[in-house]
């Protein structure tokens, strides 16, 4: 028996020694910093670049790319070259988390623009926070991301998270006020159970009821559904004057179409998730009269916005800027502005990360959607919402409120 134990120990020791000595672990992970005076800093993008919401995601990516190109061309940060590192999150929290892990282990990444979906942000921000990579979202509207779970006692959960769009806490009540102002007092609500849709509908319902309106019926759908006949029948039976939908256009478009086909000829109103030309494609002619709110002033009013639109068109991107193009452009520029401070005294991108987060709270400039600055929670100080209406097959500005 003793011999066996000795043999066992010998074997394991030998194996271990061979193993430890035999493997040369590859410590260098391709940091091919090219010899030369320019150092590289990357701005990451995490958005759905494929799948249903890719129309919005690609617009975000292209807008960030435009901002980076302009910064490089004007040598905004001397001695540094900016690059984009776009990763696809497929609108899924898991994939987003992997994308964030991948970006956080890239030493040249110094900031991230993303995400589109609030549900994905909940998995992404916890990964970026420990490594102090600043994250600015152009589209997350869920208030808990900046103000914590308890609305009565707001507390900032992540110090590296900011956003250039306003939250549901503003968007929902604006929609409620608008509907009440045009005389609609009886509304049915539908949401897709994801954080964005549910949050938006809750904010809307609270404000609508407080303003004297009535919720005829509240329904939910599964985001994978294609056939909404069950919901439509239930809603029709409740006879609302309008339907408020919390969710994105891949479901909202067909929902609107099926609603009108079943004889429920009332306008469908949604948030910025449905404000995209693809909504009109999917809903067809049934979409005429449908409404949406979107954060920020309409792009054809501000001078800085018009400059952005013309630069975007001139750059020749294959995909349109989508609902969040302007906000993404502003987010990227906010990072660039913060980098002006933090990279000035840094030798490499990784050491500048924490400084960028600190510098972000003092960033202030005029962007494509208005004044860009952040309050103590990371929310934007500009709280402008515009209501749009589908007229003759296109989204047209209806009213701007701030």
């Amino acid at each position: 028996m003793n011999r066996r134990i000795v043999k066992l120990a010998a074997v394991t020791f030998v194996a271990g020694a061979l193993a430890l000595s035999g493997c040369g672990s590859r410590a260098d992970n391709g940091s091919t910093s090219s010899s030369g005076a320019t150092k590289i800093a990357k701005i990451g993008v995490i958005a759905p670049l494929s799948g249903d919401l890719s129309a919005l995601g690609l617009g975000i990516k292209n807008s960030v790319d435009l901002a980076i190109k302009q910064a490089n061309d004007s040598n905004a940060i001397p001695g540094w070259k900016l690059e984009i590192s776009a990763m696809d999150d497929q609108a899924t929290p898991d994939v987003g988390k992997n994308a964030a892990t991948s970006l956080s282990s890239d030493d040249q990444v110094v900031g991230v623009v993303g995400t589109l979906n609030s549900s994905v942000a909940q998995s992404v921000t916890p990964v970026l926070q420990p490594v102090h990579i600043v994250q600015i979202s152009p589209a997350n509207t869920n208030p808990t991301l900046t103000q914590g779970q308890d609305a009565a006692n707001p507390a900032r959960p992540y110090d590296n998270y900011f956003r250039t769009c306003t939250t549901d806490a503003v968007q929902g009540p604006t929609a409620a006020a608008y509907l009440l102002s045009i005389g609609i007092k009886n509304v049915a609500t539908i949401h897709d159970k994801k954080s964005y849709g549910q949050g938006l509908v809750e904010a809307f319902t609270k404000a609508f009821v407080a303003g004297g309106g009535k919720i005829a019926i509240a329904q939910t759908i599964n985001p994978d559904d294609k056939d909404f006949s069950a919901v439509v029948t239930n809603v029709k039976a409740a006879n609302p004057a309008a339907v408020y939908y919390g969710g994105e256009y891949p479901q909202a478009g067909p929902l609107s179409k099926q609603m009108k086909a079943a004889g429920l000829n009332v306008p469908l109103m949604g948030g910025d998730g449905i404000f995209d030309p693809s909504y009109i494609d999917l809903a067809g002619s049934a979409s005429n009269g449908d409404l949406a709110t979107s954060v920020g002033a309409p792009v054809d009013t501000l001078a800085s916005a018009k400059a952005f639109v013309s630069a975007y068109t001139a750059a020749g991107y294959k995909d349109p800027m989508g609902a969040y193009g302007a906000q993404s452009y502003d987010a990227a520029n906010a990072i660039i502005n913060a980098l002006k401070t933090s990279l000035a005294k840094a030798t490499d991108a990784k050491s500048a990360r924490a400084d960028t987060v600190t510098a972000m709270s003092s960033v202030s400039f005029d962007g494509a959607t208005g004044k860009i600055a952040f309050d103590k929670y990371g929310d934007t100080v500009t709280k402008v919402i515009t209501v749009y209406k589908v007229t003759a097959g296109k989204w047209a500005t209806e009213k701007t409120l701030s």
Partner: protein
């Protein structure tokens, strides 16, 4: 009619005179290969792992040299060993040489193709690369011309136990080195090159008979092998220098393997096709997340982790009982669809338990986030630690935990397999009616398999929740069940080694071959179709299973019969057989 044949369909008599030429041709080919390494293979630096230098082979090229050297030995040996004897007859030199030739060709081809693709044009392939390709062609042709060797029987070589143990240690160390090396490769081309090299090296060794000898060494020293294997796996995180990316993949591979082993009981041993197995993993993960004390969880009970693990296992097991009981009475095809339907029910239910469509337990589609890190006796799993002076990251901690869980699952699996229960399961798989007629409690055993497999998945899920930090219903879709099933089938149903290999391949390849990521699922579908068409028994085939799929193969049937007799004699040396009664 000569008793020799070659891999070509030209009759043996015509090839007789080319044999010596073929041997020499093979040696020349291998020599050319070694020479080619001394020349640059590529003009561009990005290809492979920078093969642009003369007389300074890159790590990948060192591997290639290794293959070439083995080829030289295999081609040369029959020329040197003229006398009949153990050395000449027990090793399948020619077959091995042939596969070494294929290996040279394949790696040469992949190398040139990778250089061409990664550097943007075959123009960037320098003479060294082309020479390697030529060497490969010559080697393959020479190998084809050679006569086939008889089946190797290196397992009959008697070796000293010490030598055997050293062989095991050496083999495992080589595997560890290869794994660390492969994980460290950063380009897809380099990874593919290495994969091709490793695959053909393995094939060559198998066909030469060396693996037969390894298998005998392993069989004689089973306990040492298993312990050494676990030790090597335990040591793996120390080789990563704190780099988290590979440990993350390695931990995911372990979680996947553990779940696949659980499925192996249901599909591999009993033959029940379960398409909703991911639901059990999900149930374990959700239970663990809900009980973890996360801020997003609505159940404010936070038991110690061991208790949570057991509760997760029991919840999954209970679910297994619920679906098993009605459906295991009906035929196998229905079971597949019902389990699939149940997987969907589970996912939809988790999605709906969000307060508006059901009690708010799982937060609906957002799932439970911010699951806190495990903390055992002060050892926080989320932090990096310094052990023996080497930095190990967060993922390494979970790697070790998962290794422990995997060990538990393997022990359970192997013990069940060898017991009466295991034999009963195999009997049910082979022919349920006959088993029932023989007095096997088919229904009871099927339920046991179902619930047992579910329990193991629950265990794996409990750890997965903490590793992933957030648990969402979207992670537990049917496609994951399909991947699990593919791992079991691809690797070899009913075998532990096979399932581990299958799981590793299926989890590792998509991570490393990123350029395929768009086509990943499509290739997966094709893989399933091709697997079932050409090798349904999997990579590591259980021979009896193989017989089920290749019912007309006479040789295989004889092999299996011999093995069964030997197996029976080994376990029942005192049994009275018909031989004794004569």
């Amino acid at each position: 009619m000569s008793r020799f044949t070659s891999a070509l369909t030209i009759p043996a008599e015509k090839l007789e005179k080319f044999q010596t030429a073929a041997h020499i041709g093979g040696i020349v080919a291998a020599a050319l290969g070694i020479v080619s390494v001394l020349l640059p293979w590529s003009y561009a630096h990005e290809a492979l792992d920078d093969v642009t230098y003369s007389a300074a082979p890159s790590p990948l090229q060192y591997n290639y040299i290794g293959l070439a050297v083995i080829a030289v030995v295999l081609f040369a040996a029959p020329l040197v060993l003229r006398k009949p004897g153990k050395a000449r007859d027990w090793v399948a030199w020619n077959t091995g040489a042939r596969f070494a030739g294929y290996g040279l060709l394949a790696t040469g081809f992949v190398g040139v193709a990778a250089i061409g693709i990664e550097s943007g044009g075959l123009i960037n392939v320098d003479p060294g690369g082309w020479l390697a390709l030529v060497a490969g062609v010559v080697g393959a042709v020479s190998g084809l011309v050679l006569f086939r060797s008889p089946e190797p029987s290196m397992g009959r070589i008697k070796t000293n136990t010490i030598v055997q143990i050293i062989a095991i240690a050496g083999g495992l160390a080589a595997v560890l080195f290869a794994a660390a090396f492969a994980l460290g490769l950063s380009g897809a081309g380099a990874f593919l090159f290495y994969l091709t090299f490793a695959a053909f090296l393995a094939l060559t060794l198998v066909r030469t008979g060396v693996f037969g000898w390894f298998a005998k060494c392993a069989a004689d020293n089973k306990k040492i092998l298993v312990l050494a294997a676990f030790f090597v796996a335990f040591v793996f995180p120390f080789t990563q220098n704190g780099s988290d990316a590979n440990m993350s993949i390695a931990t995911q591979v372990l979680i996947f393997s553990a779940t696949a082993l659980g499925l192996n009981i249901v599909v591999g041993l009993v033959g029940l096709l379960d398409l909703g197995y991911i639901a059990f993993l999900g149930a374990g993960a959700f239970t663990s997340a809900v009980l973890s004390g996360s801020l997003y969880s609505h159940i404010h009970w936070h038991p110690p982790f061991i208790v949570t693990v057991l509760i997760s296992g029991c919840v999954s097991s209970f679910l297994g009982l619920i679906i098993g009981t009605p459906t295991l009475r009906v035929s196998g095809d229905y079971l597949a669809i019902v389990t699939l339907a149940f997987g969907e029910i589970f996912r939809i239910t988790m999605n709906n338990l969000d307060g508006s469509d059901g009690p708010n337990i799982t937060n609906g589609s957002n799932g439970i986030n911010n699951v806190p890190e495990l903390s055992f006796l002060g050892f926080n799993f989320g932090d990096a630690h310094q052990i023996f002076g080497i930095q190990v990251g967060r993922f390494a901690n979970y790697f070790w935990l998962m290794l422990l869980v995997l060990a538990v699952i393997m022990v359970v699996f192997v013990n069940l397999n060898r017991s009466r229960i295991g034999r009963g399961w195999v009997a049910i798989r082979e022919d349920e009616l006959a088993a029932e007629a023989m007095g096997v409690n088919t229904f009871g055993l099927k339920i046991l398999a179902f619930a047992g497999g579910a329990f193991l998945a629950g265990l794996a899920g409990a750890v997965k929740a903490h590793y992933d930090v957030s648990v969402t219903p979207d992670q537990y879709v049917f496609l994951e069940s399909a991947f699990l099933l593919a791992a079991v089938v691809l690797g070899g149903m009913g075998t532990v080694m096979g399932v581990l290999i299958g799981a590793t391949i299926l989890k590792l390849l998509p991570e490393k071959l990123r350029f395929f990521s768009d086509y990943r699922l499509m290739l997966f579908g094709l893989l399933l179709v091709f697997m079932m068409r050409f090798r349904p028994e999997g990579i590591i085939a259980d021979e009896r299973r193989q017989l089920e799929f290749h019912a007309e193969d006479e040789e295989l049937a004889e092999d299996v019969q011999e093995e069964l007799i030997a197996y029976h004699d080994h376990f029942n040396p005192d049994a009275v057989t018909t031989e004794d009664l004569r």
